[in-house]
Symmetry: C2
Subunit: 210 residues, 2 copies
C-alpha cells in the first residue's frame, strides 16, 4: 500500500484568512501535513509520496518521497495512477483529524474502492486497489464522480462514514473541530492561537486568545 | 433499549429560512422525524418516546409514545432519565441521514455511554446504559459537557465517529448532504425542491428547481 498526499502551501487555505494570516496559514498547512504523515506511519503505511510543485517547499525532514508536477490536481494524480502497480491511498493534506485507526480500517476493507466523503460532495480519502483501472475527478461533486467512475469500470465500492475524515479544514469554524477532536501539531497550533467561545448556543465559536 | 426523540415543529429550523418557507420547514421537520423513527424501527428499536409540547402536533400515525413537557430541553430530558430503568438512545429529530446500521452499531457498543458528536461541539446521539446515573447538558459545547459528566460519574465512553450522524440539518448547505447521502421521505422532499449546482468548485451548491 502506497499513500499519495497532494500538497499545496503557497497561499493555501485562503478561506481561513479571517482567522489566520498568510504566514500563519502556511505554517499551519505544514503542521497538518506532518500530522497526516504521522498517522499514516503509525498505521504502518510508510511508502508515502507527496505530490506538489517545487515552489511549495515540502520540508526535507519528513522522510517521504516528493514528486513534482505542474499539472492540475486531476491530471497530476491520473498520471501518477498510471505508473503504480499496487494499491494507493490518496489523502488530502488538510485532514489533521485522521487517526491511525482510520487508516488501518480503510486499507483493511475488501473492496476495489473506498471513498470517504467530505462535506458538500467532496472526496477526502480514496483507497484504490487497482490504480491502473481507475482515474480521479476532483472538484464538482467529486464524491458522485468517483461513485460513477467505479460503476462504469465495474469496481466494488465501500463508502466509509467518518465525521473526523469528512472535516477538511477550510474555514474558521473548522478550527473548532481541531480543538475538540484533534491531536498532534495542528491541535497544539490551534490551541496556541484560539480559545473556544461557549456561549450557550448549540455550536461553539472561535475566539482569539489574548 | 428505549429511544427518545426530542421534537419541535413550531417555527423550527429558522436557519433554513433562506431555502424553505415556514410552512415548508414545518413539513420538512415532520418528514425528518418520520425517517428517524423508521430507521430506529428497522434496527429493532421499537419502544420510541417522542418528547414535545402539545402545540407541536406530533402526527398520530407514527405509532410512538408521545410525552409532553413544557420544560426546557435539558430539564425535560433529565426528568425523563430519572424515570427509566433501561438503556436509552437519545436521537435528535433532525438527523435524517441516520440509517438502521448506525443504530445497530451504537446499541451494540459495550460502554456505559456512546456519544455521537455533531459539528461545533454538539451532541447528536447519546446512548445511555444507566439513565439514572447520567444527566444531559445540551448547548454550550455539549460534546465536552457529556464527556465531562461521564468522567465525573465514572462511566466508560465510546465516541462514535460518523459523518452522516454529525450532519444535523440546520442550514441550507446541509440540504446538499440529504441529496447526496439521504434516503426516505426527507430525501424525496429535498429532491423535489432543489437541484445540485455543480460548478467546478470543491463543494456543490444548492439550486432551486424551476
Amino acid at each position: 500500500m502506497k499513500a499519495l498526499i497532494p500538497y499545496k502551501r503557497q497561499n493555501a487555505k485562503s478561506r481561513l484568512s479571517p482567522a489566520l494570516s498568510l504566514r500563519e496559514r502556511e505554517q499551519f498547512v505544514e503542521l497538518m501535513l506532518r500530522d497526516v504523515v504521522e498517522s499514516l506511519r503509525e498505521a504502518g503505511v510508510t511508502d508515502i509520496d507527496i505530490l506538489t510543485t517545487p515552489s511549495n517547499g515540502v520540508p526535507g525532514d519528513l522522510g517521504t518521497n516528493i514528486l513534482f508536477s505542474e499539472h492540475d490536481l486531476n491530471e497530476a494524480i491520473n498520471q501518477y495512477l498510471e505508473t503504480v502497480n499496487e494499491p494507493v491511498l490518496i489523502l488530502m493534506a488538510d485532514l489533521p483529524l485522521v487517526a491511525p485507526r482510520h487508516v488501518k480500517e480503510i486499507v483493511a476493507i475488501d473492496k476495489d474502492l473506498v471513498i470517504v466523503p467530505g462535506k458538500g460532495g467532496g472526496t477526502n480519502v480514496l483507497c484504490i486497489r487497482n490504480p491502473q483501472r481507475f482515474y480521479v475527478r476532483y472538484y464538482d461533486s467529486s464524491f458522485l464522480n468517483h461513485c460513477r467512475i467505479a460503476e462504469e469500470t465495474g469496481q466494488s465500492v465501500h463508502i466509509y462514514d467518518s465525521f473526523l475524515l469528512s472535516t477538511d479544514i477550510d474555514e474558521p469554524h473548522d478550527l473548532i473541530e481541531v480543538m475538540l477532536h484533534g491531536h498532534g501539531l495542528s491541535k497544539a497550533y490551534v490551541d496556541s492561537k484560539f480559545g473556544m467561545e461557549r456561549n450557550g448556543k448549540s455550536r461553539a465559536g472561535l475566539g482569539l486568545l489574548q
